[in-house]
C-alpha cells in the first residue's frame, strides 16, 4: 500500500474526541469505515501492523453488530466514536479508544468469549481477532444501547510520532 505523507498533520488537542461516524448496518459500508480507520490510525502514530490490527478489530466488531445484533438488517443505526485516552501507567503511551454503539437486543456476555482455535472450522473467528488485536475489549448495556469499547495503546517507542 502506498504510504501517505502525514507530515504536518496534527490531531486536535481537546478532551480527546477525534472522530464520530454514524452509519447504517449495511456491509457495503464496512469498506468505507476501514478507509477512515486506516487514515486515523496512521495519523495517530500507530505502526503499520498496529494500524491493521485496529482496523481489523473495528471491522470485525461492526460485522458482529450487523450479523448478530441486527440479524442482517441493513437499515439499522450504528455509531462509532474515536477518542484519544491517556495511558494507564506512566510508562505507557496514549491510546485510541473506539466506542461502537447499536440499538439491537442485549447480548449474552457468555457469547462474547469466542471459540477455541484447535478445531478447523469456519466461523467464530471475529471475536478472536478483536481480542488478539486490542488491549482492551469491553461490552456493556447502557439503557437500550449495546456499547462495545475497544482500546489500543501506542507502543512507547512510537509516541514521539504522535502529533
Amino acid at each position: 500500500m502506498r504510504q501517505r505523507d502525514t507530515t504536518g498533520v496534527s490531531l486536535p488537542s481537546n478532551d480527546g474526541f477525534l472522530l464520530k461516524l454514524e452509519l447504517l448496518s449495511d456491509p457495503k459500508l464496512l469498506f468505507v469505515v476501514r478507509g477512515a480507520l486506516e487514515r486515523l490510525t496512521e495519523v495517530f502514530g500507530f505502526s503499520p501492523p498496529d494500524r491493521r490490527s485496529v482496523t481489523r478489530a473495528v471491522d470485525e466488531a461492526l460485522t458482529n453488530i450487523m450479523r448478530h445484533c441486527y440479524d442482517g438488517r441493513t437499515d439499522q443505526p450504528i455509531e462509532l466514536c474515536c477518542s484519544r485516552v491517556p495511558p494507564r501507567t506512566p510508562e505507557q503511551a496514549n491510546g485510541l479508544e473506539i466506542l461502537l454503539c447499536d440499538q439491537g437486543p442485549a447480548i449474552d456476555p457468555a457469547k462474547l468469549r469466542g471459540r477455541r482455535l484447535d478445531e478447523i472450522k469456519p466461523g467464530g473467528l471475529g471475536l478472536h481477532f478483536i481480542r488478539q488485536s486490542m488491549d482492551t475489549v469491553e461490552y456493556r448495556r447502557v439503557g437500550t444501547i449495546n456499547q462495545f469499547r475497544l482500546v489500543k495503546y501506542l507502543q512507547p517507542s512510537t509516541q514521539s510520532q504522535t502529533p
Binding site: M1, R34, R56, E60, L117, P122, L125
Partner: protein
C-alpha cells in the same frame, strides 16, 4: 470485489480483486463450493495477489473451500497473500493448514 476464473489442465484459478468482507464473502464461498462440490475440479487455486484485506467471514469461506476439497481428495491452494491476509491466517492458526505459495508459478508447479 471481483472474482473471475481461469481454467486449464484440471486446474481452476480464481483471480480475486478487492477486499473480502461480509459484503462479498458469500460470493466467494458460492464460487468455491461450486467448483469443488459440483465440478470436482482436481486443483482449485486462489490468486489473492490483489486482495488487500480479508475478514473473518472471508477466512470462513476459504476454510469451507479447504474442507470441501479435503472431503473429496482434491487440492485447494492459496497464493499471493498480502500482509493483512497473512496476519489473519496466522491469528486463526490456519496459515499452516492451507497450502500457501508466494506466486502463481510456485502454486502451479507444486
Amino acid at each position: 470485489m471481483q472474482i473471475s476464473a481461469r481454467h486449464s489442465d484440471r486446474t481452476t484459478i480464481f483471480d480475486v480483486t478487492g477486499d473480502i468482507d461480509l459484503a462479498n464473502s458469500p460470493e466467494i464461498r458460492k464460487a468455491l463450493l461450486r467448483e469443488v462440490r459440483e465440478k470436482r475440479t482436481p486443483r482449485v487455486v486462489m490468486n489473492l495477489s490483489n486482495v488487500r484485506y480479508i475478514d473473518s467471514s472471508g477466512v470462513a469461506s476459504l476454510v469451507e473451500g479447504l474442507k470441501a476439497s479435503r472431503d473429496l481428495n482434491l487440492r485447494f491452494i492459496l497464493f499471493g497473500l498480502s500482509p493483512s491476509a497473512r496476519e489473519v491466517l496466522q491469528l486463526s492458526r490456519l496459515l499452516k493448514i492451507f497450502e500457501v505459495y508466494d506466486n502463481e508459478d510456485q502454486a502451479l508447479s507444486s
